[in-house]
């Protein structure tokens, strides 16, 4: 199962990378969302899958699955949500200010 999941993660990363390399800003943001899905699954997978029961004490005698990756992913989900929201607003502001949603048209200013 773990090997299969890693391969799935590889596919997701490829798709995310392809989207990030696009010119359209929405596709780039989608790419980051796909990449974060991939990373969450990867963290969970490398911690070992289905090695025990749900990590809630008292629900069973154990053994429990590794709770640490789950805690890390929980944090990661929330943060990736925050960044996605921020990126979306950034895209909106970029379109309002520059009149384009194509990042290849953003070249900075000459005095940079």
């Amino acid at each position: 199962m773990e090997s299969l999941m890693v391969v799935l993660v590889g596919v997701l990363v490829s798709v995310g990378t392809y989207l990030v390399l696009s010119r359209n800003v929405i596709r780039i943001i989608l790419g980051t969302a796909v990449l974060s899905h991939a990373v969450h699954l990867l963290i969970l997978t490398v911690g070992g899958l289905k090695t025990g029961d749900v990590p809630v004490l008292g629900s069973s005698k154990g053994p429990f699955t590794d709770a640490l990756p789950q805690a890390l992913i929980l944090t990661a989900i929330v943060i990736s949500f925050a960044t996605t929201a921020f990126l979306l607003v950034l895209a909106y502001r970029m379109y309002k200010t520059n009149g384009t949603d194509d990042v290849s048209e953003l070249r900075g200013t000459s005095d940079e």
Binding site: L74, A85, Y92
Partner: protein, 803 residues
């Protein structure tokens, strides 16, 4: 804490305090307060003279980083005592002079802060026995010199001069560091004294000559030897007290100190002899030759300093020959060269310090130091004239001034070395006295220029209108003390020889008898070759001075673009151009390109390392078994993600992204992570809603119009990145060398009072993580708010209304 350590720390400590407490001191007082420091240190150091001259040395170790062999070991012997007396003695005079020289409007607290910092660093250089500590202080002198040259940082010249001196001296310093590390690699010790006592162990090592050359590079850049001297004339942008102190009397002599200090280690080596003597002699000639053409008095003095440093350097080179013979009667004569070097070092500090202060006075009173505009100042400034006369004639090597004595000894050394037949001296040796003599002729000429062009002749009309008068008495005291020393040393040289120079000779030649190496210095030897050389210098010097305008064309023979300065500047201009062009070529502002670089390096480094270390593992049957509904989920996600690439409509893409997100939530369910599944479901719903809201304000996705090549390379990069992540993931999944740490958290109820382990990790074990996560959320929220709200108020479309 030992007294020696306190001597180094005190100036640095006061340097730190001056900028803090200066506002409680009046501008009139600050200099006097600072003056107290070098004066005290000088008095303390003079108390060492009797004990040091009896052959005692003082050493103290303060452990700093013992595991790396780096300890602050202070070591005072004759050699370091000479330098420390110069640093504090000239330092006292310079601070005293600067009280009158610097206007009260200047930022005096900065000036004295840098000056004291330099003083402490320089004392650190001469007192350190540990190579690394010496190096640290060495660079600190470069930094403080940089700050002092750029003291008037509103001037372009000051900034350029400061940068040049920094680049050259610090590059040399780094070379020296490499040399020190080689010494450490050879011997396993950082202590200079231990190195010297183990000289037989390292002198056969293959790194011996590279270390020697690298250390010399450090010494030559610091002591302004050819071709590195170009920073010193530009350093004259510093206030004159700084030029008198750092750039003639002390810092530029750090290289001399280093060479003298390492002579017992490298002396007797042919490379050491030829590099030091050769570079020193050429610098002596080149500096004096170029000093003659200068029109700015300070630049002239700078070139003369370069030349005099070359003289001292070449004497040390000649002196190192004594080690070739070991302790024997015939080698004693070569030790006299080192004696002359140390003697001239002191003499140079006295007369050159006085001359710089003299130029400062002229600049201060007349408003210019350009000799084309000066002249006839003798009748207005008789005391200054006297100072200039004594200082210059001492530098020219005339009696009854101390320069005469050391110049005669220099000629003796040059003549004695030319008769040797080792190190292929039998063919080249005759050049040494010839170059020495020619350089002395030029030295004589520029000394005449200093005195005659400034003080005799007619007063030029444009300065005549000024109210010319003698400098205030306070400004004259310091140079008068120095020229007083110039004369005193001439009449009583043996006091200096007995108490100051003799112990220093023991430091350079530890195996020799100090008494035999200390000559009785006398002014009159009878009509010996040295005296005829001096007479020749005077005659030719006067003739060439009188005919200067006829042969001045010589200086135009070297085309402007081939001078060292234009080579230096050309090098930096060119490297700036090239690196600018190169950077603009790949940093072209296209964000997608930057992503490509990042991904390419990621693949190259990670996958490259994996392939080279053969870490690839493929073991599909390991781990838990695959259930059929999980298999369905895997295929759903794979299908959805590939479909994402081909979706045309933006609504479709977002919905497909939702499919992936919700499937991930299902994965969390099957993998026993209910908290994650719940969170994922909520977040995925909100994210999808956000995307949809955003679409209201953004245009429909246009089909990507890109070339076929770009599409293929984009796919290739994506697949490579995915493959890299996959092989890394597989390696990690199949790696089981470490036991899991998860069992620790299974005591969650006892440790944190919660039954849901994930919750206790978030809320208790790793609560700081969670707190910072909340901070990130908060910052992102602020960003969202700012982007929507604040900008809109500045005339943009109002978001709230359009919603």
């Amino acid at each position: 804490m030992s007294i020696e350590f306190a001597i180094i720390i005190l100036p640095i400590l006061v340097a730190a305090l001056v900028p803090i407490f200066h506002r409680y001191l009046s501008k009139n007082v600050i200099g006097w307060v600072v003056l107290f420091i070098p004066l005290c240190l000088f008095i303390i150091l003079t108390t060492y003279i009797p004990r040091i001259s009896n052959g005692e040395t003082f050493s103290n170790t303060y452990e700093w980083i013992p595991s790396l062999n780096i300890n602050i070991t202070t070591y005072i012997d004759g050699l370091s005592l000479i330098f420390s007396l110069l640093i504090t003695g000239i330092g006292t005079l310079v601070v005293f002079y600067s009280i009158f020289y610097l206007s009260k409007k200047e930022s005096l607290h900065h000036f004295y802060c840098y000056l004291l910092l330099f003083m402490g660093a320089m004392l650190g250089v001469v007192f350190s026995d540990n190579l690394m500590v010496l190096y640290a202080f060495w660079e600190l002198t470069s930094v403080s010199s940089f700050l002092l040259i750029a003291f008037w940082h509103h001037r372009k010249g000051s900034r350029a001069g400061a940068r040049k001196s920094m680049i050259i001296t610090v590059s040399g310093g780094i070379a020296m560091l490499a040399g020190f590390l080689m010494l450490y690699a050879m011997s396993g010790t950082m202590s200079i004294r231990e190195l010297i006592s183990n000289v037989q162990l390292i002198s056969e090592h293959s790194l011996f000559i590279p270390a020697l050359l690298l250390i010399l590079l450090g010494a030559f850049t610091k002591s302004a030897q050819f071709p590195f001297y170009i920073w010193l004339p530009d350093a004259m942008e510093a206030p004159t007290p700084v030029s008198a102190y750092l750039h003639s009397a002390t810092m530029v002599k750090a290289g001399i100190y280093l060479v003298a200090r390492f002579t017992p280690l490298f002396g007797g080596e042919m490379t050491w002899f030829w590099v030091i003597t050769g570079v020193g002699l050429f610098t002596l000639f080149w500096g004096s030759f170029n000093a003659v053409r200068q029109t700015d008095l300070k630049a002239l003095l700078a070139f003369s300093t370069v030349s005099q440093l070359g003289l001292i350097m070449s004497l040390l080179g000649i002196g190192s020959v004594a080690f070739y013979f070991g302790y024997a009667d015939e080698s004693l004569i070569y030790t006299q060269a080192t004696f002359a070097a140390l003697f001239h070092l002191i003499n140079h500090s006295t007369f050159k310090g006085a001359l710089f202060m003299m130029v400062g006075i002229v600049d201060h009173e007349v408003g210019t130091r350009d000799i084309r505009r000066l002249g006839g100042l003798m009748s207005f400034m008789p005391v200054t004239f006297t100072i200039a006369l004594i200082g210059s004639f001492s530098m020219a090597g005339l009696p009854p001034f101390n320069g005469f004595l050391s110049k005669e000894m220099f000629f003796t050394a040059a003549l004695s070395i030319s008769t040797l037949d080792i190190f292929s001296l039998d063919s080249l040796g005759v050049l040494i006295p010839v170059v020495a003599w020619i350089a002395s002729v030029f030295t004589f000429i520029y000394c005449l220029i200093i005195v005659l062009r400034t003080f005799t002749g007619k007063v030029k009309p444009d300065i005549k209108e000024r109210d010319l008068h003698e400098a205030p008495f306070g400004m004259l005291i310091s140079p008068l003390i120095l020229v007083g020393l110039v004369i005193l040393i001439f009449f009583f040289p043996n006091i200096l020889g007995r108490y100051i120079l003799k112990p220093a000779m023991t430091s350079v030649y530890p195996n020799f008898s100090a008494d035999e190496m200390t000559p009785n210095i006398v002014a009159w030897h009878g009509f010996i070759p040295e005296l005829w050389m001096t007479i020749g210098v005077i005659i030719f010097g006067i003739v060439l001075y009188k005919t200067l305008k006829y042969w001045k064309r010589v200086y135009n023979l070297i085309p402007q673009r081939l001078t060292l300065n234009s080579i230096y500047e050309g090098f930096f201009a060119k490297s700036e151009d090239i690196s600018g062009n190169l950077t603009n070529r790949y940093m072209n502002g296209n964000l997608t390109n930057y992503f490509v670089y990042i991904y390419a390096f990621f693949v190259l480094i990670v996958a490259g390392y994996f392939i080279s270390s053969d870490a690839f593992v493929w073991n599909p049957l390991s781990g838990s078994k695959v259930d059929h509904y999980e298999l369905i989920l895997v295929f759903v996600v794979m299908f959805a993600s590939v479909a994402l690439l081909f979706a045309k409509k933006r609504v479709t893409t977002v919905l497909i992204n939702g499919v992936i997100g919700y499937s991930v939530a299902f994965f969390f369910v099957t993998f026993r992570a209910p908290d994650l599944a719940l969170t994922q479901l909520v977040v995925e719903s909100v994210t999808t809603a956000l995307f949809l809201i955003c679409f209201k304000f953004l245009p429909e996705i246009k089909p990507e119009t890109s070339t076929k090549v770009w599409k293929i390379s984009k796919s290739a990069i994506s697949i490579l990145v995915g493959a890299t992540v996959t092989i890394v993931g597989l390696a990690v999944v199949n790696y089981d060398k470490f036991p899991t740490i998860a069992t620790y958290f299974e005591d969650a109820y006892e440790l944190a009072g919660g039954k849901n382990i994930v919750n206790t990790i978030l809320g208790d074990f790793r609560a700081f993580d969670t707190m910072l996560e909340v901070v990130v959320l908060f910052i992102a929220g602020l960003g969202v708010y700012a982007l929507i709200k604040l900008k809109a108020n500045k005339g943009g479309t109002d978001v709230e209304k359009s919603e």
